[in-house]
């Protein structure tokens, strides 16, 4: 049984009487431990797919099974619990809470799952160590560079030991050097056995992931656009840490 199973999933939006099919009858299986990039032109439905996979949103039609449980008609509360324990998110704009310091930001998901104070601190520090940010634990997000913020965000995504990590354009706001560094972090995580799903515009990133899914007009494209997937290039060296 696959970790994630989508069957005939559609997401429709009504905009002024007009129906927009952000996702149109998508079926998809994702196995545990896969490293996948989702590519496609702007507005094709990549983020929508990721939100539905990540339990941030519910589909209009279709069924989703995550780790053995059906989630397409779960309540907001159940979805929150699933997001908390099984899923980690990394966003383009980092999305750290500005009023909390790095350590507190990383502790937050454990606060929601009811982990005790001491264990919370230890696990947060371990996660920060894993991304090389333990020396900045007491800093506010506003005192960090973009790359540092994104590493803190990755630590936060990891801290509850989730099954899957979703990242929506995680390098979109970073310069190429920092982007490479973040990307190598994802490769490490993948090597450690974690399931990672990356939404990206960047062909260079898509090129190095073992599996690519291309979305076009809300559907999964049958044939991958080689240019979009970076496959027309000389296979770039997989960045290593």
């Amino acid at each position: 049984m696959a970790l994630l199973e989508l069957r005939n999933v559609s997401k429709l939006y009504q905009l002024g009487g007009e129906e927009i099919r952000a996702l149109d009858d998508v079926s998809l299986d994702i196995e545990g431990g896969e490293f996948i990039s989702i590519i496609g032109p702007s507005g094709s439905g990549k983020s929508t797919l990721m939100h539905i996979l990540g339990c941030l949103d519910s589909p209009t039609r279709g069924t989703i099974r995550l780790d053995g449980t059906m989630i397409h008609d779960a309540t907001a509360r159940q979805l929150a619990a699933i997001r908390n324990r099984k899923i980690g998110f990394v966003f383009q704009f980092f999305n750290l809470l500005p009023k909390l310091n790095v350590l507190q930001n990383v502790e937050l998901p454990m606060l929601y799952s009811g982990v005790g104070g001491r264990e919370r601190r230890e696990r947060a520090l371990t996660a920060l160590q894993a991304v090389g940010m333990d020396n900045r634990a007491r800093h506010r997000p506003s005192q960090l560079s973009g790359g540092q913020q994104q590493r803190a965000a990755i630590a936060r995504a990891l801290v509850n030991n989730p099954k899957i990590i979703f990242a929506d354009e995680p390098t979109g706001n970073l310069d190429s050097h920092t982007g490479t560094m973040i990307l190598s972090l994802f490769h490490q995580l993948s090597a450690a056995g974690r399931t990672i799903i990356l939404v990206t515009h960047d062909p260079e990133i898509a090129a190095v992931t073992p599996r690519r899914i291309e979305i076009r007009d809300g559907k999964i494209a049958a044939k991958i656009d080689a240019k979009l997937a970076g496959l027309d290039r000389v296979s770039p060296a997989v960045p290593q840490a």
Partner: protein, 451 residues
């Protein structure tokens, strides 16, 4: 645990916006302060009124008064006997629902002199020892009248400390307490020996003030000494201190001997008969019993009436109720305004934080967690406001006691504090419910996208 964390972060948020939170709390602060303050003032009023009431003999005292005979008995009016000792004996012996009967025969326009000094007593009355319990007097020095004093119509008197102050010197001024037992004073030119003196009657507040003044001597006053103590509420105490009592028979024989032309007997009519009922709950029955007895002794002529303290008690209670009500309304309006202020601020603050709420939801905050977080924030503001309000009410009461010469010291009691704090928590929770629901129901994706 979750709740504790919510509380902590609520406190942090309040601290982060000190000025804003303070302004938000203002309504609650005012509401709580006015509620507690008003209750304290009313309590002070109540205490003062009760004190005065007790000084005048308590609520269970009933006065028997002379009255016009009813129209159907008008032709008998000249046979009306008036109130005499006859009535007193009859009431004492045959009205079991009446516990105490105290006859009084008073001397109008009396002047008491000693050497050059003179004083007009508030009342100069011939009495039985029953008067002590009737008017709640305590003999602090010497003794009261004995059966022999009564029998022989002895020229003895018992005085209040006010009389002593005027004739022998006030201990507050002379610095020593003079107890003039055995001294002779003149009541309307007739010599009387002082055999006893009452304790000094004063209000709770006066006593405290006096003791305070004793402990730290006041700065020497320049200018004429201001007359003190004749303000509202105090008159009852001052009156009581200016009492002079003598045995009933003494009064009768010495001052009523003008007599009645037809009988050669001194005028036997009493000026007052006070009674106390055995059981306050059976007031009506007791009065009926007294009426039956008196109808008999008065040969069926109803030339008397009763005056209970009930009316007075009723007025006092009415005043207290009114004061409570107006205080409650003011406090209620303040709390309402405070609640609206809190709701307003919380709504503004969640609008500011929509994106943050979205982030929290994305990493697993359930709707309940978000709800709890927001509502606790509202409750924290309300609770802090209530705490400050309670403190402010103490200041307010202190200030009132300083600037206003009201003699009833406001008394802060626990129940209004409880009520005020509970009301503020309720207001905070109510004000928080709507914003908290709004935040809890936010769609995480829309919240994340919000700029």
């Amino acid at each position: 645990m979750k709740f504790f964390n919510a509380l902590l972060s609520g406190l942090k948020d309040v601290w982060a916006h000190k000025l804003r939170s303070m302004l938000t709390m203002l309504g609650i602060i005012l509401g709580v302060a006015s509620l507690v303050g008003m209750a304290a003032i009313v309590k002070g009023m109540e205490n003062g009124m009760k004190e005065t009431m007790v000084t005048m003999g308590g609520a269970d005292k009933v006065l028997i008064l002379d009255a016009q005979v009813p129209p159907e008995q008008e032709h008998l009016a000249d046979q009306a006997p008036g109130r005499t000792l006859q009535d007193v004996y009859a009431l004492r012996d045959s009205a079991p629902l009446i516990r105490l009967v105290s006859p009084e025969m008073s001397l109008g326009r009396s002047v008491i002199t000693r050497g050059q000094k003179q004083v007009s007593p508030s009342e100069c009355v011939g009495v039985w020892p029953a008067v002590l319990e009737m008017n709640l007097h305590t003999v602090a020095h010497g003794r009261f009248f004995t059966a022999l004093d009564e029998e022989y119509a002895a020229s003895v008197c018992v005085i209040g400390t006010g009389i002593r102050d005027e004739l022998f010197g006030n201990p507050d001024e002379t610095g020593k307490e003079i107890i003039p037992l055995g001294e002779v004073i003149f009541i309307n030119e007739q010599p009387f020996t002082i055999v006893g003196m009452f304790e000094r009657y004063e209000s709770e507040q006066d006593r405290r003030e006096r003791e305070l003044a004793k402990r730290r001597p006041a700065a020497p006053a320049n200018g004429p000494a201001r007359a003190r103590g004749w303000g509202r509420g105090n008159w009852a105490f001052n009156r009581k201190n200016l009492t002079v009592y003598m045995p009933l028979n003494t009064m009768w024989l010495k001052f009523r001997a003008g007599g009645d032309a037809t009988t050669d007997v001194p005028d036997p009519r009493l000026d007052d008969i006070d009674i106390k009922v055995a059981d306050f709950g059976q007031l009506e029955a007791a009065l009926q019993q007294a009426r039956n007895v008196l109808m008999f002794t008065h040969k069926g002529i109803e030339d008397f009436s009763f005056r209970t303290q009930e009316n007075r008690v009723e007025t006092i209670n009415q005043q207290i109720r009114n004061a409570r009500l107006s205080g409650g309304i003011i406090a209620g309006i303040s709390l309402l305004v405070g609640g609206i202020g809190i709701m307003n601020i919380i709504l503004a603050s969640i609008n500011e934080r929509i994106r943050e709420i979205g982030i929290c939801k994305a990493i697993g905050a359930s709707p309940e967690t978000v709800f709890l977080q927001i509502i606790v924030e509202a409750a924290v503001i309300a609770l802090l406001g209530a705490a400050i309000g309670v403190m402010a009410s103490f200041g307010l009461v202190d200030l009132l006691a300083q600037i206003s010469p009201t003699l009833n010291l406001p008394v802060i009691t626990l129940p209004p504090i409880f009520v005020a704090v509970l009301c503020s928590i309720a207001v905070g929770l109510l004000a928080g419910v709507f914003p908290a629901l709004k935040a809890a129901r936010l769609n995480p994706i829309e919240a994340l996208r919000y700029e």
